[in-house]
């Protein structure tokens, strides 16, 4: 167990390190001299060209004249110390911006995930228990249909129907609880679909297992067989899907937050990308990757708690 933990953490750190190098290269290889872009942003306006002495000054001021390797190590060090540099778009420290914008994203993804998990398990179990009946076919047809709808279009349709036509939901904005319903639905839909499907398959398999048969034979009421025997054992694969879906949720939040003007890191990332705010882009991407990996790491460890039979080599 300890050996496994150390190995997993080493893998995690290695993956993060390679990912940070990759992100840094990709973002910094973007066309346009960063110092020149920055000088235009800060002083001369977007259309005018910045004078060379100003560019040199800006490069000096924001550490852009250093070699790339030094810039990289500064940045990675900053990821730990919280000193990630300045955003040229918001004219604030990057760490301050991330602290400001992380909570809304975490709120949104958590609510979506909880919604997706609960709804997914309910529909999945229902579908499995009514195998090959009309309701099962309907649920399966609905899942495959929802899985084919792009998340941003679902969001637009929700706004169209509930905000513009029916007028019962706010179009966009940040708040609780009314404002979160539409974005959380749009964001969680795909995750819900995957959970329904895995829960259904897993439940069908579990219902065939001898211990469920035994529980039935010894005369337990069906409710008890399903909820305290079968469901618990069928849940394990869902855990994996939750971990994988979390990445999709973080990625989807970029689009959903932009549509609903939800002030999270996704929306900030989009703004940063359109303004070519390199430091902000790379730091935000690293935070997203970090969150995704950490969640999957925790879920990996949770396996052992959920199912003590799983022992790590």
């Amino acid at each position: 167990m300890h050996y496994y933990l150390i190995k997993r953490i080493a893998h995690l750190i290695l993956t993060l390190l390679i990912a940070s190098v990759f992100t840094f290269i990709v973002v910094n290889a973007a066309p346009g001299e960063p110092a020149e872009v920055l000088a235009r942003h800060l002083y001369t306006g977007l259309e005018e060209a910045a004078p060379p002495e100003l560019i040199a000054k800006v490069a000096d001021r924001y550490d852009l004249s250093k070699p790339l390797l030094v810039q990289y190590s500064d940045w990675v060090g900053g990821l730990f110390t919280g000193n990630m540099g300045y955003s040229i778009l918001f004219k604030k420290p990057v760490s301050w911006l991330l602290m400001l914008h992380l909570p809304p994203t975490i709120l949104l993804t958590t609510v979506s995930m909880v919604f997706a998990t609960i709804a997914g398990i309910i529909f999945g179990v229902y579908s499995a228990l009514h195998q090959n009946k009309i309701s099962d076919h309907l649920i399966r047809a609905a899942t495959i249909f929802f899985a084919s709808m792009p998340g941003f279009w679902v969001a637009v349709m929700l706004i169209l129907v509930f905000s513009l036509w029916l007028g019962i939901m706010p179009v966009a904005g940040y708040g609780w609880p009314l404002f979160i319903i539409l974005p959380a639905t749009a964001l969680g839909l795909h995750a819900m679909v995957s959970i329904v499907r895995i829960m259904r398959t897993s439940m069908l398999e579990t219902m065939e297992k001898p211990f469920v048969m035994f529980a039935k034979v010894k005369g337990l009421p069906m409710k008890k067989v399903i909820f305290s025997h079968a469901c618990k054992n069928a849940f394990l694969p869902v855990l994996t899907v939750i971990g994988m879906s979390f990445g999709a949720l973080l990625a989807g939040s970029v689009v959903i937050e932009t549509i609903f003007s939800w002030p999270g890191i996704g929306e900030m990332l989009m703004k940063a990308i359109s303004a070519r705010d390199l430091v902000l882009i790379e730091s935000t991407i690293m935070v997203i990757v970090f969150l995704f990996l950490i969640v999957n790491f925790v879920i990996d460890l949770l396996y052992h708690i959920v199912d003590p039979r799983i022992i790590y080599e």
Binding site: M149, P150, I159, A251, L293
Partner: protein, 298 residues
């Protein structure tokens, strides 16, 4: 080759197809046949869409902007008075060209890298596995966003970006398949017979490993179409002059209240095409994998 010889060959080929398991299973599934026929229609429409479009997708007419359905404009018109039906049809071509090229590239690259890493193992295999992990650690849209920032918009750049984003999932699947198969007896006997490694890989392992990858490719076609439309909805990826569904929805947002067709029609098109690829992918899995039971199919 004479005509009779060609005919004979076609007849032999048809007979061999009819003898296969998957042909038998396909015959049992009329719904899957419908899906394949619809896919064939979609692909044909994608190839001929500029000719087949009833009107010029770029012809603007401000007097007729934001119209509802009519006999002249089947799906109405957009905010510049362009015919929505023609634009959706041409958007199909854009999506299909990008998606099919991307999947072709990722399929070949992923299968090659994955099978190499799986078969050879060693430090090179471990390194490749690590790199695959890193690529999978990026949520796909996030990586695509970073790469689009680097490369800028354009059809070729879009294909490049999507290929970089998606090759890893193919490589991981292929690697897993090869790892699972490489100690099978037929591989060991081929090794014992002294066959070269590349021959074993291509002739023996590949046919036994490739079907799940084909299924993934079919489903990923749908997934890629979703990603393309998401990126262009965000205003990244493709230049606005090319008709594309995601960008059409983005452009229709402003007049959503008065002209809802502008956002509904392209979205339905995305959903429909993606749905077909998802159904086809599941269908191929059902008919090629003898372990799957009928229960799993729709």
């Amino acid at each position: 080759m004479s005509e009779a010889a060609v005919r004979h060959r076609v007849r032999v080929w048809c007979a061999s197809v009819r003898g296969t398991d998957w042909y038998y299973r396909l015959k049992q599934r009329p719904s899957l046949q419908v899906v394949f026929v619809l896919l064939a229609i979609i692909l044909t429409a994608a190839v001929f869409s500029p000719i087949a479009a009833p009107q010029d997708p770029a012809a603007t007419c401000l007097y007729e902007k934001n119209q509802w359905m009519s006999t002249e404009h089947w799906f109405g018109t957009d905010y510049l008075g362009r015919d929505l039906f023609s634009r959706v049809l041409c958007g199909l071509q854009t999506s299909m060209v990008v998606a099919v090229t991307t999947i072709a590239i990722t399929f070949v690259a992923g299968a090659a890298v994955g099978s190499y890493a799986g078969y050879n193992g060693g430090w090179a295999g471990t390194c490749i596995a690590r790199i695959i992990d890193v690529f999978l650690a990026f949520p796909s849209i996030i990586l695509a966003l970073a790469l689009v920032t680097l490369l800028g918009s354009g059809v070729l750049n879009m294909i490049l970006v999507l290929s970089v984003v998606q090759w890893a999932s193919f490589a991981r699947l292929m690697r897993g398949q090869v790892l699972a198969e490489k100690n099978a007896e037929y591989v060991l006997s081929a090794q014992a017979a002294g066959l070269p490694n590349w021959w074993i890989l291509v002739k023996h392992l590949l046919p036994n490993c490739i079907m799940p990858v084909v299924v993934l490719a079919t489903m990923d076609l749908g997934h890629t179409i979703l990603t393309i439309s998401t990126l262009s909805f965000l205003g990244l990826g493709l230049p606005p002059s090319i008709p594309e569904w995601g960008f059409m929805i983005h452009a229709g947002l402003g007049d959503m209240r008065t002209a809802p067709l502008n956002v509904i029609v392209p979205g339905l098109a995305i959903t429909f095409v993606t749905l077909l690829f998802n159904l086809a992918g599941e269908g191929i899995r059902d008919i090629t994998d003898p372990h799957m039971d009928v229960e799993g199919s729709l």
